[in-house]
């Protein structure tokens, strides 16, 4: 199938859809927003259009039985294993956020007859492995996460692929962080050698007095994009952090929109970007403070270190504010490694190459160290160092 064809339905076909198709509202959304082109706001800095023009294998929805395992494994869009104590099942979903800005969010829902529902009871740390094993295939799935009030849960996401070249993966979360709970999503994703193409589009609602932590660690030499839409209810809090270490010709990063809806909401967003070779990092992030969101606090920052001749950072932190009373700070810097620091290390006998490495790792560590679970922190550290030393060996 070709995704581009979806937007080229005739008026008659559309009318027919409207009458028959249970998801005609989604089709209309995709049509009005239009599939991403080079001119689309959210997709200006990556080349998604060619991906949508490709012809992909596409299989009818055919879930497999779920067996017990240590972690949740989703293979080519279907759950294969899930741990005890967590309810993972397929379900209809009628809570699509019709205000989302991303057409691929709607497309993802359109292409997923059922969503993968993950219901977390109690306090837990869950590992979620996404595995891709099919090439030239359109793999599309949506995950819905529900947690419980007064509970703390974290999901650690990992990615694995084998023979998944030229596949397009559209996935994403719809998350409702329940009132008075905390939820963490920590993503660790290295993509090398164009192992697959991915656009991940998420929708998060943080309930009253709830808090969400979203940390993403994106490494490697290949392109991908994640899009976030996060809404904060009264006294809700979100803490987001994004680390990029890119090399080669990767174009990768985050497009995000955080909307403060309720009073006394807090958001922080910190992007750290290390760009080598001809890589392009993207941090295109809007914080919107609505009229109803008095006493908002928000802090947003992007720092980029350019290591390569052709490396480049697109940093667009933006604030859109409709109230007078708030605490807000935002900014972005792009530069090289700090010469003073480099010299200090060298003056103690550490070689320039080693000193550079120490400083780059240090820069990354300031975000990696925000992951409090020691074992998970180490895993991310390892992924980073593998991506980093790969450059060294080549």
């Amino acid at each position: 199938m070709r995704l581009i064809n979806l937007t080229q339905l005739s008026a008659i076909e559309l009318d027919e859809c409207r009458n028959k198709h249970p998801k005609h509202a989604l089709i209309e959304k995709v049509q009005t927003l239009g599939l991403p082109t080079r001119k689309s706001e959210a997709y200006r800095y990556v080349e998604v259009e060619p991906l949508l023009r490709e012809t992909y294998e596409y299989a009818e929805f055919a879930p497999k039985p779920i067996v017990y395992g240590e972690k949740i494994i989703i293979e080519d869009g279907y759950v294969t294993t899930a741990p005890k104590g967590i309810r993972v099942y397929y379900s209809d979903f009628d809570d699509v956020n019709m205000n989302h800005y991303d057409p691929l969010y709607f497309l993802g829902h359109l292409l997923s007859p059922k969503v993968i529902m993950i219901e977390i009871d109690g306090d837990s740390d869950i590992e979620l492995l996404h595995r891709f094993t099919k090439s030239n295939t359109l793999i599309s799935y949506r995950i819905v996460i529900k947690n419980q009030t007064n509970r703390h849960a974290s999901i650690y996401e990992y990615f694995e692929s084998k023979n998944a070249q030229n596949s397009l993966i559209l996935y994403g979360y719809d998350i409702m962080v329940t009132q008075d709970s905390t939820l963490g999503i920590i993503k660790n994703q290295t993509i090398n050698d164009n192992a697959y193409n991915m656009v991940a589009s998420h929708n998060v609602k943080v309930g009253k007095q709830a808090s969400m932590m979203l940390k993403t660690f994106d490494f490697g030499d290949s392109s991908a994009l994640q899009l976030l839409n996060i809404e904060l209810d009264t006294h809700a809090m979100v803490d987001t952090g994004h680390l990029l270490y890119l090399l080669g010709h990767a174009k990768r990063g985050t497009v995000s929109k955080i909307v403060h809806k309720g009073e006394h909401t807090h958001s922080t967003q910190e992007a750290k970007n290390i760009l080598d070779d001809g890589a392009r990092g993207i941090f295109d992030a809007l914080i919107k403070v609505e009229q109803s969101a008095k006493y908002t606090k928000t802090r947003q920052n992007s720092k980029a270190i350019l290591l390569g001749e052709g490396s480049f950072m697109v940093a667009k932190p933006q604030l859109e504010i409709y109230i007078d009373e708030l605490e807000a700070s935002h900014g972005s810097t792009t530069g090289q490694l700090n010469n003073n620091q480099l010299f200090y290390l060298q003056s103690r006998g550490i070689s320039k190459i080693e000193a550079r490495k120490m400083l780059i790792i240090a820069f990354a560590n300031t975000l990696i160290e925000t992951i409090r679970d020691g074992r998970q922190q180490e895993k991310i550290q390892k992924s980073f160092e593998e991506a980093f030393y790969k450059k060294d060996l080549s």
């Binding site: 700090n338 010469n339 003073n340 620091q341 010299f343 200090y344 290390l345 060298q346 003056s347 103690r348 006998g349 550490i350 070689s351 320039k352 080693e354 000193a355 120490m358 400083l359 790792i361 240090a362 820069f363 990354a364 560590n365 300031t366 160290e369």
Partner: protein
């Protein structure tokens, strides 16, 4: 003679700061440099360690009989030159102990010795920490990050003690130190004194010199060493300042 500076001219940006400076450091001796603000004292120490700010336009610095000018900063350090910075930079994310061990092992490899493992290194460091009155958590923190002025200076001395260099340049190591810290730091320095090492101590105050008992006092002014004398000179400088010192040539 361990370090010999001859007719050194050096620029920072377009401005000539050192204008034909001559200075020789003797083995086993403590040399103190005093001089007005902006005279070029820090520039001189930066020139010796190869700081990127400083461009040498004429003259030479030789160390153990060989010119230093062709060596990179790290090579100079490995050869045994050490400078404590007037304002040590903060390096967030680089663990202090890890940094120290990396530096020490680089030196040990250069000297043909075995590297120290983490446990051996920790033992070595603990001894020094106690002697310097440093809290053990200082080494598990990021290098200099959030350290007070005095803590930064002690951390410089800790590095000196661990690296055991042959030429030690201390750029205002005494500024910002409280009385106890000054004593601890001075004792650290005195403990390093031996017949092979030499010290270049840059200071504005006599207090640290009371502890260190320098062999020579040099006055750096107008980009040159304009006067060299014994320790008695300090008292005169403290009472009369630097105005009376003129280029006698």
């Amino acid at each position: 003679m361990i370090l010999d500076i001859k007719n050194l001219h050096a620029k920072i940006g377009d401005k000539e700061i050192l204008k034909g400076l001559n200075l020789s450091l003797e083995k086993g001796k403590v040399h103190a440099i005093m001089g007005p603000n902006g005279a070029g004292k820090s520039t001189l120490s930066k020139a010796i360690v190869g700081h990127y700010d400083v461009e040498i336009t004429a003259g030479d610095i030789s160390y153990k009989g060989k010119s230093l000018l062709e060596l990179s900063p790290e090579e100079r350090a490995l050869e045994g030159i050490f400078m404590s910075f007037q304002n040590p930079v903060e390096v967030p994310g680089v663990n202090n102990a890890y940094f120290l061990r990396t530096a020490l092992n680089a030196k040990r490899i250069h000297d043909g010795k075995e590297e120290l493992n983490a446990a051996q290194f920790l033992r070595l460091m603990r001894e020094h920490l106690t002697a310097l009155g440093m809290k053990p958590d200082m080494v598990s923190r990021s290098l200099n990050e959030g350290f007070s002025g005095g803590e930064k200076k002690r951390n410089e001395i800790l590095q000196m003690l661990i690296l055991e260099p042959d030429v030690i340049i201390l750029d205002e190591i005494d500024s910002g130190l409280d009385i106890d810290a000054l004593k601890a730091v001075s004792e650290g320095i005195n403990q390093m004194k031996d017949e092979k090492r030499s010290f270049l101590v840059i200071t504005h105050y006599s207090r640290i010199l009371d502890y260190l008992k320098p062999d020579y006092i040099h006055v750096l002014k107008d980009g040159k060493i304009l006067k060299t004398a014994g320790v008695d000179l300090v008292e005169k400088l403290e009472s009369e300042g630097y105005d009376w010192i003129k280029d006698e040539l």
